[in-house]
């Protein structure tokens, strides 16, 4: 069973949940049994080029980040680095969700193009989870589990904490 688990996780780039891992066996398995096997796998890969991680939607293997510099030599293809506009929009959705496009524009002080939201939706990082009950019924955006997976995080709480901002007016606080 350990080998089956290993083969499944190594052949699937997407994370596998406990429920999915259970499907690998034709006899019902206890969660704690699978977790024990996963623990053993983690031990097995404690050193070497890849590691087993737990992320938002389950378990998956990834190459250790320090390998990237070597692997990049093999294929220089890289997914895009997003512009500041895209990243700021993503940050606002991540930290203030659920938000409407209007909310994002209010915070950024500039219009947010439909293209930006489409880019993030196409990447699977945000989606519409409803509409706000005001005139025009604007869509409410939230981040997805896919975003957490791609950032190797288990939950939104693992996002970098927001910085406490100082007062801009302290000079003439009289």
């Amino acid at each position: 069973m350990l080998s089956v688990l290993e083969a499944a996780l190594l052949t699937t780039p997407e994370p596998l949940s406990l429920a999915e891992l259970k499907k690998l066996s034709d006899v019902p398995l206890e969660n704690c049994f699978i977790e024990e096997l996963l623990e053993q796998l983690m031990q097995k890969y404690a050193s070497g080029g890849v590691e087993l991680n737990r992320v938002a939607t389950g378990w998956r293997f990834r190459a250790r980040p320090e390998m990237q510099v070597y692997l990049d030599r093999l294929s220089p293809e890289k997914p895009p680095r997003y512009s500041r506009a895209v990243m700021e929009t993503l940050a606002i959705i991540a930290y203030r969700q659920p938000v409407t496009r209007g909310d994002i524009e209010e915070i950024r002080g500039v219009g947010v193009s439909a293209q930006i939201l489409k880019t993030l939706e196409a990447r699977g990082w945000i989606d519409v989870i409803g509409t706000r009950d005001v005139p025009g019924k604007p869509s409410l955006f939230a981040t997805t589990k896919q975003l957490l997976d791609d950032l190797n995080l288990r939950s939104l709480q693992e996002l970098p904490s927001l910085e406490e901002m100082g007062n801009l007016l302290e000079r003439d606080e009289s």
Binding site: A63, Y95, G109, L151, N152
Partner: protein, 269 residues
């Protein structure tokens, strides 16, 4: 207005000339328009920069002058990025409003909290924006799958019949985004919709000529497609000639024009 020392911005060039100064206030010199649009995410971002980097008191900006500058700026903006102009103009209006409120005689103090600093709302927005701006930077620094680490994917040979991958227009878009991100394609590989229609016609004409023989110039046009189509086909043939993919000949003045592909298609391909 306190004249602020502004630093060199090494990467900024306008018309080939290095731009030495960033704007002193919310006014953007016409020449610097593109630079400012690229460097700043909007008026809040520009204002934050001015306050943080140069200790600029935003309320010290001479408002009459600022307004004048803004009006001339709007005229230039009207030609391309009007929506952004509006945002910068709105910010200027907010600053003017705050300043005018601060110049009014203060009502006799009734209690401490009833007198609200007119700047408070703007400052709250600036701080909220700054917080998100920093959060975006931190998010960008987190390792991203595919960018900063690879996912493990070992081959698995399925015994079931082989399925062909599905591809959507979105996938193509993503692929181009990746290409754009990598190469400096922005400058020399811009493809607009109208250019794409020319590319489409180039392919059609080449297919028609693939037998390698001369064809009458007129026969390459599809008359049923309407005038825009004819123009696009014409441009496509010129483009093919420019890339020396076709040969255009005319044996006598005002005689018939013939076109031939500049290659013979080998059947071994």
């Amino acid at each position: 207005m306190s004249q602020v020392e502004l630093q060199l911005f090494p990467r900024a060039f306008i018309h080939g000339e290095p731009m030495l100064e960033m704007p002193h206030d919310l006014y953007i010199p016409p020449d610097a328009l593109e630079l400012v649009l690229e460097t700043f995410q909007g008026p809040l971002d520009l204002l934050l920069y001015l306050i943080r980097k140069h200790n600029l008191d935003v309320l010290d900006i001479p408002m009459a002058q600022l307004t004048q500058q803004y009006m001339s700026y709007i005229e230039i903006m009207q030609r391309n990025r009007l929506e952004l102009a509006a945002e910068y103009l709105l910010m200027a209006a907010v600053l003017i409003e705050i300043k005018s409120r601060m110049l009014l005689p203060r009502p006799p103090k009734v209690s401490e909290e009833s007198v609200e600093d007119p700047r408070a709302e703007l400052m709250r927005r600036l701080l909220e924006y700054e917080q998100m701006k920093l959060a975006a930077q931190k998010l960008n620094q987190l390792p991203h799958a595919g960018r900063d680490f690879e996912l493990v994917q070992v081959l698995i040979e399925r015994t079931v019949e082989q399925r062909l991958p599905n591809v959507s227009v979105e996938d193509l878009r993503q692929a181009w985004l990746a290409l754009l991100a990598r190469a400096k394609l922005n400058t020399h590989h811009k493809v607009r919709r109208d250019e794409l229609s020319v590319r489409e016609q180039m392919t059609r004409v080449l297919r028609q000529l693939s037998h390698g023989k001369f064809e009458a110039f007129e026969s390459l046009f599809d008359v049923s497609g309407g005038i825009p189509q004819l123009v696009v086909t014409f441009i496509a043939i010129l483009e093919l000639a420019k890339e020396t993919l076709v040969e255009i000949t005319q044996t006598e003045t005002l005689g018939n024009i013939y076109v031939r592909a500049n290659f013979t298609l080998t059947a071994t391909e």
